[in-house]
């Protein structure tokens, strides 16, 4: 086989467009780096905001910033670091490293990665643009109503926050879909579940956490924006709402969020540390189990942000216990790292310095985390600088230090050059000393009674010297970060060229030459251990010399290997899309729509939504293609299909994960209905009881069941009867859905339920809007399917779009029925 002769074609198909057209690239090696660079830019911006705050707090009663600016700046600092830096930069590392570590040439949906990235960057810029008109968000990154509501925050700051971040979080949801499907389906042959690297497990865990944690935040954002813009009183205590509902929704997201940030960082440590200890991670399976356990427990902690609300004692005790219990899996990881390091005498290369710094700071932040899990102690330190100190130890110590280690570690992988080891010592020293000088005193300030989020403080409270020390420390730390940036910029061009696999790592991302070309390795390997580059030398040499899988572009374009999720046998060559402007166009359209909503202006909203819908439709138009040949030879004498129209395909699983995300959003909305029902004295309020006739509810239920049946029949009809039969089924579903939508809208409009009157009416309307939106989405997917069936680009054996339409109908009908049941049970 003449793999050698064909290799240029592999380079050809993976080559990025030149010049400005590079922005149309969708490959993970580009998009991942863009993510990291953009997120680092936001990190620097957030850091500058932090320096401004520390300047203002250096001495009592300073006037560097007025209260208005300070409140905007602390809000934007937290918002930036959580939403625009920590999560995206880890997404970027995941997008870049995870496929490489799995020996895949890309993620399953490259255009989705690119779309997510552009939504993130444009959304971040949209949020920051609020500074330009002097209306940056200023109600805190936690946006508690009623302070964030239209009465107490009439300016646009809260709107920028709520809409801008909803736009940004499209990126997290995209990454969750990518990584879930990628880790489960795009592993190399031989990488059974027991051989998946810890980092990939961490990302898989985090992807699932995003699936269940982010949608409740987005629902909360939309409800609060609806309260602000339309006066629907979800959180207004005078009209049956409850501000505590926001707190539950926010922290149901907010606590898992902390571990969404920490777990990948811990995975980075578990990846790098064995390299420098030159031995496998001790207790790999325990670390994996601890990672998954942390992710699960993190959903049982949210109330520990609400101990001061005055909730029942028993529920607080349970959340206190869970908050302490989450320390156990972290302890397991820490001691697995210690055991790995034990007697290894690692060379203190730059990443290793930051790993050691991480170990100390993370444990120091962990023990104060256990303290604040104690309910009575939290009554004292909650919302004080003690908590500020605690979470900066776990977030900077636990995430930024591993991140800096990772930057040094993978810098040669991207650029082919090493960063300066000499400067690294300075960077580490400045950041480590500066960090402790900044944040250690904040513990004491909290104990001395200094609350958070204060723009100034009085002299005579014993707070002066500690604040001054913290300010000095912040600038020392900033100098270290500045030096890191300087070295990275310099080393990218003039650093020492790195050898292949410069640290002698054992994981697959170092397969092939350093720096890695866009195509990745010459061919894809088979693996039989956790550290293929250490233990599977024969297979690795074979793969590097082009003797593995997919040494040439067998489908003629970009492609990678899908394996069976359990047996890991090669199952399909997945043809992947190349460069495309559609993701950027779709993101611009989405951004225009959000900007239009922000300024309450219909034309840009509609135009943007239309542009986004058009781009997404064009994007969906040429998916599910059947490349030629249909069963190519992929290497090792194996032949697998290049197209699959079954539920084993990655496309179907992408659809299923998207549906789970949506389901989690629905659960948050339905949960809000149940929560308001439980806390309210009378549900519905007497004036609104019986506002919805039972006949209408029953009729709606029957029609929805019919919608579901017609939708679900469509793929069966396609298989048995062909395109016309499928088109008929989808057409019936669209017609029935139109009837349900129109009937539902008329019923609500003619009822006594004015959504501004009471939270009950508002949440019933919200369920109605959710149902209508999902019927519309299913109808749009069906329209696309009908067009493709008519054009012949979908049909028997090529029916994924019909299958996904069926999924959308089933989902819309099921959630609609659940809503009707809730309304009926709630006395509607």
């Amino acid at each position: 086989m003449s793999a050698e002769a064909d290799r240029p074609s592999l380079n050809e198909v993976w080559r990025a467009p030149r010049g400005l057209a590079v922005l149309s690239e969708v490959n993970n090696t580009k998009v991942g780096v863009w993510y990291v660079l953009a997120a680092f830019g936001f990190f620097l911006a957030g850091g500058i905001l932090a320096l401004l705050m520390r300047l203002q707090l250096a001495l009592p009663l300073l006037g560097v910033l007025d209260h208005q600016s300070y409140n905007q700046i602390f809000t934007m600092h937290g918002t930036t670091m959580m939403f625009l830096f920590a999560v995206p930069i880890l997404e970027g590392i995941g997008v870049y490293v995870v496929p490489q570590m799995l020996g895949a040439r890309d993620l399953p949906f490259p255009r989705l990665s690119a779309y997510g990235f552009w939504c993130y960057v444009l959304g971040g810029l949209l949020v920051y643009s609020s500074f330009l008109i002097g209306q940056a968000p200023d109600a805190g990154w936690f946006m508690y109503p009623p302070l964030s509501g239209s009465v107490y925050s009439p300016h646009m700051g809260s709107d920028f926050w709520l809409l801008g971040l909803t736009f940004v979080e499209i990126s997290a949801l995209s990454a969750a879909i990518e990584i879930t499907v990628g880790v489960i389906k795009f592993r190399p042959p031989g990488m059974t579940f027991g051989r998946i690297p810890v980092l990939a497990w961490a990302y898989l865990t985090v992807a699932w956490m995003i699936v269940f944690a982010f949608p409740p935040l987005l629902v909360a954002d939309i409800l609060l924006e609806a309260e602000r813009a339309l006066d629907w009183p979800f959180f207004d205590a005078t009209r049956g709402g409850d501000p505590v509902l926001w707190q539950h929704l926010f922290w149901f997201f907010g606590h898992p969020e902390v571990y969404i940030i920490f777990l990948p960082a811990a995975g980075l440590i578990s990846t790098m540390l064995p390299t420098f200890a030159r031995r496998p991670l001790v207790g790999h399976h325990y670390v994996v189990a601890a990672t998954i356990a942390t992710g699960a427990i993190s959903f049982a902690l949210w109330v520990h942000h609400m101990f001061a609300v005055g909730l029942p004692h028993l529920s607080m005790s349970l959340f206190s216990a869970a908050s302490m219990a989450v320390a156990i899996p972290s302890g397991i990881q820490v001691f697995a790292w210690i055991a790995t390091l034990w007697g290894s005498r690692p060379a203190l290369h730059a990443p290793m310095l930051f790993i050691l710094g991480f170990l100390f700071l993370f444990v120091a932040g962990g023990v104060t985390g256990v303290m604040v899990a104690s309910v009575p102690f939290d009554w004292q330190v909650h919302d004080t600088h003690f908590v500020v100190a605690h979470f900066h130890y776990v977030l900077i110590g636990g995430m930024v230090f591993p991140l800096f280690a990772a930057i040094y570690y993978w810098f040669p992988h991207v650029t082919g050059r090493l960063m300066s080891e000499g400067l690294a010592r300075w960077v580490f020293g400045l950041v480590f000393v500066g960090f402790n000088l900044t944040f250690f005193p904040l513990h004491i300030l909290g104990l001395l009674g200094m609350p958070r989020r204060v723009y100034t403080y009085l002299p005579g409270l014993g707070l002066d010297w500690l604040n001054l020390a913290a300010t000095v420390g912040a600038f020392v730390m900033a100098a270290g970060v500045g030096l890191l940036v300087f070295d990275a910029v310099r080393s990218a061009r003039t650093g020492t060229p790195a050898a292949d696999n410069p640290w002698g790592a054992g994981t697959l991302e170092w397969l092939g030459p350093t720096p890695q070309p866009p195509k990745g390795a010459a061919s894809l390997p088979r693996v039989s251990s956790l550290y293929p580059l250490w233990m599977d030398r024969e297979e690795i040499d074979l793969a590097e010399s082009g003797g593995g899988y997919l040494a040439r572009a067998v489908t003629g374009g970009r492609e990678t290997l899908r394996t069976h999720w359990r047996s890991t046998a090669a199952a399909q060559v997945v043809a992947l899309p190349g460069p495309s402007w559609l993701p950027l166009l779709a993101a611009i359209g989405t951004g225009a729509a959000f900007t239009g909503l922000l300024f309450k202006s219909a034309p840009p909203t509609l135009a943007g939504a239309a542009l986004a819908a058009l781009a997404l439709a064009l994007w969906a138009w040429d998916t599910d293609t059947v490349p030629v040949p249909a069963r190519p030879e992929i290497g090792h004498g194996e032949r697998v299909p290049s197209h699959l129209d079954t539920i084993g395909s990655h496309a179907w699983w992408g659809g299923v994960v998207a549906m789970l995300i949506d389901l989690s959003a629905y659960a948050a909305l339905a949960g809000s209905y149940v929560y308001l029902w439980v806390v309210s004295a009378a549900w519905p309020p007497p004036a609104l009881a019986g506002a919805l006739p039972h006949g209408a509810i029953a009729g709606g239920a029957v029609l929805l069941a019919a919608v579901a049946a017609a939708g679900i029949i469509a793929p069966v009809a396609l298989r048995r009867g062909g395109s016309a039969a499928a088109a008929l089924a989808l057409g019936v579903a669209v017609a029935l859905a139109t009837a349900v939508g129109a009937g539902g809208a008329l019923t609500l409009l003619n009822s006594a339920l004015a959504p501004t009157a009471h939270a009950y009416a508002a949440v019933v309307w919200a369920l109605g809007v959710y149902g209508a939106a999902h019927l519309l989405v299913a109808a749009l997917i069906s329209a696309l399917a009908l067009l493709r069936l008519a054009a012949g680009s979908a049909g028997r054996g090529r029916g994924m779009v019909v299958r996904l339409a069926a999924l959308a109908w089933a989902y819309a009908a099921a959630t609609g029925l659940a809503s009707l049941a809730l309304v009926a049970a709630g006395g509607g």
């Binding site: 302070l147 009554w379 104990l447």
Partner: protein, 321 residues
């Protein structure tokens, strides 16, 4: 435990005068929580020392095989399970004690959060006992605070006496506290509540039961009649300037409820919710230009008043003890 660590802590915590410290032990609840803190600090220092020591020694003590899984079992599982179980039981016990400790007839005080000041009422002393930014309690008696808000979420927190409790719209939260010794304890709002969250302080004065009784009786009385022309002029100017639209001074026509009740304002420790000490000069300055002193607060600047009027109003108010 507390004794053993006290010298070290004294360096950082007590060397400077810190009237808002949670470790000074003015109240029963704060003392119990401070004890909890010293126990947890000891444990925390031990854990950090252990891990740091293991990393430092283990990594460089010599080239050996990697550590065994026993590290994970002992350090990662057994140690935290044991330590955390103990802490959980201790901590839950402290929490239950603080929430359920009670006596037959606790003193009820209502505190209502406003942007950015505190309204304080003694409902059992009659409708007149209303003041602002300051509450007085008798030493040694349990006080039940009934906490609510007039606008956004605030959080009532006087660290020397007890932990904090949020004041959430639509709810009334309760906080028990008992002052163990006489003194003045400073507190401030702990939940971010907008522009002047940083300048929303209050004081709790704990005094002997007898003095407290006298003081409360005084609070229920209407404002004293002015004793001289200056103060009489001040009262006239106050009413003429429309101050009564927002403020109440019992015994006059001023019956506004937007701002603090000023009936006995002269007897309070501070003005502007802890922003300035209370005297004629600061009251005059506040009326003329509160927007410079505490920007964004709800009181407009009255710089249109003549300085003689300002002086008279300030003199009258300062005399309302």
């Amino acid at each position: 435990m507390r004794r053993a660590l006290a010298p070290a802590a004294a360096l950082a915590l007590a060397a400077c005068d810190a009237p808002q410290s949670m470790l000074q032990g003015g109240g029963t609840a704060a003392t119990a929580i401070a004890d909890l803190w010293w126990v947890m600090l000891t444990g925390a220092l031990a854990v950090v020392a252990l891990v740091t020591g293991l990393v430092a020694y283990g990594t460089w003590h010599g080239r050996t095989e990697s550590g065994s899984l026993r590290f994970v079992y002992l350090g990662g599982l057994a140690l935290p399970v044991a330590a955390l179980s103990g802490l959980l039981v201790y901590s839950a016990g402290v929490g239950r004690e603080l929430e359920t400790a009670t006596e037959a007839a606790p003193l009820r005080v209502e505190v209502i959060g406003h942007q950015w000041w505190w309204e304080v009422r003694y409902p059992d002393a009659g409708p007149g006992a209303v003041l602002a930014n300051e509450l007085r309690v008798p030493v040694g008696r349990t006080v039940v605070l009934e906490l609510s808000t007039a606008d956004v979420i605030h959080s009532f927190w006087v660290p020397a006496l007890a932990g904090k409790v949020d004041m959430t719209p639509g709810r009334t939260a309760r906080l028990r506290l008992r002052a163990e010794s006489a003194g003045t304890y400073r507190g401030q709002c702990a939940e971010f509540c907008g522009a002047q969250h940083a300048r929303m302080a209050l004081h709790v004065v704990a005094e002997s039961p007898a003095r407290f009784r006298d003081w409360l009786a005084g609070q229920t009385r209407p404002a004293a009649e002015p004793e001289d022309d200056l103060r009489r002029a001040g009262r006239e100017a106050f009413l003429a300037a429309g101050c009564g639209a927002c403020h109440t001074v019992r015994g006059t026509d001023a019956a506004g409820t937007v701002g603090p009740d000023l009936t006995h304002v002269g007897g309070r420790l501070t003005i502007g919710a802890g922003v300035l000490p209370n005297n004629i000069g600061t009251i005059q300055g506040w009326i003329a230009d509160s927007q410079t002193i505490k920007p964004g607060n709800r009181m407009p600047a009255f710089d249109r008043l003549e300085s003689t009027e300002l002086r008279a109003i300030a003199a009258w108010l300062a005399g309302l003890e």
